[in-house]
Amino acid sequence: MADTRTTGIPSKVTQGSKTKGGIGESTLRPDGTLKVTGEFAYSSDMWHEDMLWGQILRSTVAHAEIVSIDTSEALAQPGVYAVMTYDDLPTAVKNYGLEIQDTPVLAHGRVRHHGEPVAIVAADHPETARRAAAKIKVEYRELPVITDEASATAPDAILIHDNRDDHHIGHVPHPNIVHRQPIIRGNADEAAKKADFVVKGEYTFGMQDQAFLGPESGLAVPGEDGGVDLYIATQWLHSDLRQIAPVLGLPEDKVRMTLSGVGGAFGGREDLSMQIHACLLALRTGKPVKIVYNRFESFFGHVHRHPAKLYYEHGATKDGKLTHMKCRIVLDGGAYASASPAVVGNASSLSVGPYVIDDVDIEAIALYTNNPPCGAMRGFGAVQACFAYEAQMDKLADAVGMDRVEFRQLNAMEQGTIMPTGQPVDSPAPVAELLRRIKAMPLPPERQWESSEGADVRQLPGGLSNTTHGEGVVRGIGYAVGIKNVGFSEGFDDYSTAKVRMEVVGGEPVATVHTAMAEVGQGGVTVHAQIARTELGVTQVTIQPADTQVGSAGSTSASRQTYVTGGAVKNSCELVREKVLELGRRKFGTYHPAWATAELLLEGGKVVTDGGEVLADLADVLEGEAVEVEAEWRHRPTEAFDLRTGQGFGHVQYSFAAHRAVVEVDTELGLVKVVELACAQDVGKALNPLSVVGQIQGGTTQGLGVAVMEEIIVDPKTAKVRNPSFTDYLIPTILDTPTIPVDVLELADDHAPYGLRGIGEAPTLSSTPAVLAAIRNATGLELNRTPVRPEHLTGTA
């Protein structure tokens, strides 16, 4: 290749290569200053003149008929403006739901889980509303609770939902099963005969909570036109709108939704929470109504990660090649469907993990029970499977007598591998390389707690409880790797919309990007500005607040927003660029022949040729004329999985991460200190490297949480939640969280914008099994459930 410095030929300019602050740079968050000064307006910060406070009364039992509801005493309280029950719902539409509309806005005759909304109150002070709600008398006649597969599918089991007419009822073996997805490929029984070693395992995954810090909240303001304005924290404005408007009896254009500041999401804001309740009370009272859950209510106010039972059988030859896999994954969906069908699709189609196994027999189901409803959480079905298949990989490697990492590398999938669904992996799948990188990282020093002044107890299991100075402490190391799909799968029309405008403001060219993308902390707003700079060659980019005045952006879920809404912003920018160039040709085309002949680019606020020659200032081209485009953008289509065989081009893209965990366990007390949790991940292209690393570290930590501390405890006798608080449901603190070194690999996926790969979820998968593997390594225990608690390590469980 010619060296341009010596030949004097100008290097070819490509779009975006000369503009500062574009993709690939670690530009800073546009909302950063507002967030550090306390001025960023979260949904719980909304305030309005004359505002009322809404409160929800929730069921105190998990499964019961409602015999009667008496609201008279609550209504009589001074300061109370409205009390509403099922009977006050304004239209025939009284249910909502993401896929299946099985969730009552307010309970009708029956409650199906602990904490189900029964009545709502509006009052002039939140405490008045709470006290009034407590004065509503609800008489329940309790019913037997369904809490697991056996009770759900018993011949005489009460049906959680009578008269199901959803599109899954035709293929499920029992009406208390939401959805079933088998995947059959090859012949697992036949292939099993080639196995020299067969390993079977039964695994349990506990119920994890998203535990986003900003509680469910929002403000509904009644409009003069009979409509309502809702300021809300959500993951998908248009999905909310589609569910809210019919219940209110309003056309969608009279429910105007604006995204407020969102204090984290992690899947927990995919379903509606207080949206309809606030709108109902606002329309009833004619006053703005704000609802803010406290933490206790938040634990009841959103779905959780599906707890699961996983039954696995793997075989391997004595050379260490996997022969077959059989598995059965039972997910507890709780009382309402939420995202359960899609979680089933993910769990089954990703149940093999990032490995090559030609002969598989897979089944995944989700149950209806009286446990808390479960739905979307970061990792979405792939998390539970990864915990189980990675435990299996360690057992198999040990059986074969191979190094655990080498065993995985030997069986690792790569580009071209056929998934159990028959879908080829048609972009880089550097599974073996990620494992190599993670293993090559230097280990933290042994006895890292020792300092010149003796043991620093803060670095030991038990921490400042001062339970050991190193006695009984054993180190363990564990590895894991996982595969996650990116984007909505199984034939979903997974599009996004972006409106991009270019104009001159104060003599400078400015781009404005308007989407309905929910910024929940992930940094989509940062990336949109970067894309606009790269594609339009401007410095000044304004990101408009997300609302329903622009087309849907789809959900901030499934690691999809940078891919899909990023793709939509890129696409709209390209269309704007064409229009700007047309405008330029019209105004200045006669001044220079390059306007007609050269490939033209927008760089540094100018129109330039691909040789770098400047033709015009963008400010002159755009003088007096703004250019605007709103366009939808889609990734390549997917298709549904066959309901009998599970075959189908179901996924858009895959995402891979690997972890190495180093733990130290006080084997006498059963206390675990995670010393380091290193991650290697392929991100395709890091649009914002700083944000990429932040996502990987955050996801890793949520995986750590469900390895050693996080679990919603549901009483199996009553199906009641026993620990709905941050006192009893523990998430990792900064003391629980280790150093998280991150190695980012960038192998482009040619199907995706800029070659990028959705990154948010993959690190949540392998983190948990890596920690478990390390604890097993330290203790020699089998540990087939997560989270691990002290009693599991001391034999006192």
Binding site: T542, T701, T733, I734
Partner: protein, 202 residues
């Protein structure tokens, strides 16, 4: 009841306060200062951390009546508070700059700082060093934990200007963050400490 106290250097009077209201509620709903956050309202998460007569407290656990006649600093006043502290020769405790270097050098800390600037970031707003460091190090994602962490970290650096990593973790262990995995928060505090102890103009 009526409560008179000082918030961010200004005398404030809150009327019609119900006896059960917390300081957090009065700040957020009566004084128009929603920067202190309401993530758990049971003293577990630290999102509502403010300084009460200089001491970091969870404002959700302080009854409004307890602050009568006292001084409160919230995240909204943090930049001013830090500026005045700097003008009065360092920290309130006099410990700043005197300790041995247990912390991170500026050169080492700089590697965590993001390069490049977003046109909408930080223009025309005066920030405290810890606020700037949180932005630069990528310690802010959803941002809901940020106000409490900033108040707690600022107070820690006032007491201990050259903290070790274990010191930082201990001091911030009452502040939950669900987004970042804390690594970039560690980076931010190290960066602020390093900048604070470096000579002027570096």
């Amino acid at each position: 009841m009526r409560v008179n106290f000082t918030v961010n250097g200004r005398p404030q009077e809150a009327d019609d306060v119900w006896e059960g209201e917390s300081l957090l509620y009065v700040l957020r709903e009566r004084l128009g200062l929603p920067g202190s956050k309401n993530a758990c309202e049971q003293g577990e998460c630290g999102s509502c951390t403010v300084r009460l007569d200089g001491v970091p407290v969870c404002s959700c656990l302080v009854a409004a009546g307890q602050v009568e006649g006292r001084e409160v600093v919230t995240v909204e006043g943090l930049a001013d508070f830090a500026k005045q502290r700097a003008e009065h020769g360092g920290c309130a405790t006099g410990a700043c700059g005197s300790a041995e270097k247990a912390g991170t050098s500026l050169d080492a800390a700089k590697q965590w700082a993001a390069k490049g600037h977003d046109s909408q970031t930080g223009e025309g707003v005066e920030l405290s060093p810890i606020q700037e460091a949180f932005i630069d190090a990528g310690a802010v994602q959803c941002g809901f934990c940020t106000p409490g962490l900033l108040v707690a970290a600022d107070e820690m650096l006032e007491r201990n200007p050259n903290p070790s990593d274990a010191d930082i973790r201990e001091a911030l262990s009452g502040n939950l963050c669900r987004c970042t995995g804390y690594e970039k928060i560690m980076d931010a505090v190290r960066l602020a400490a390093a900048r604070q102890s470096a000579p002027e103009g570096v």
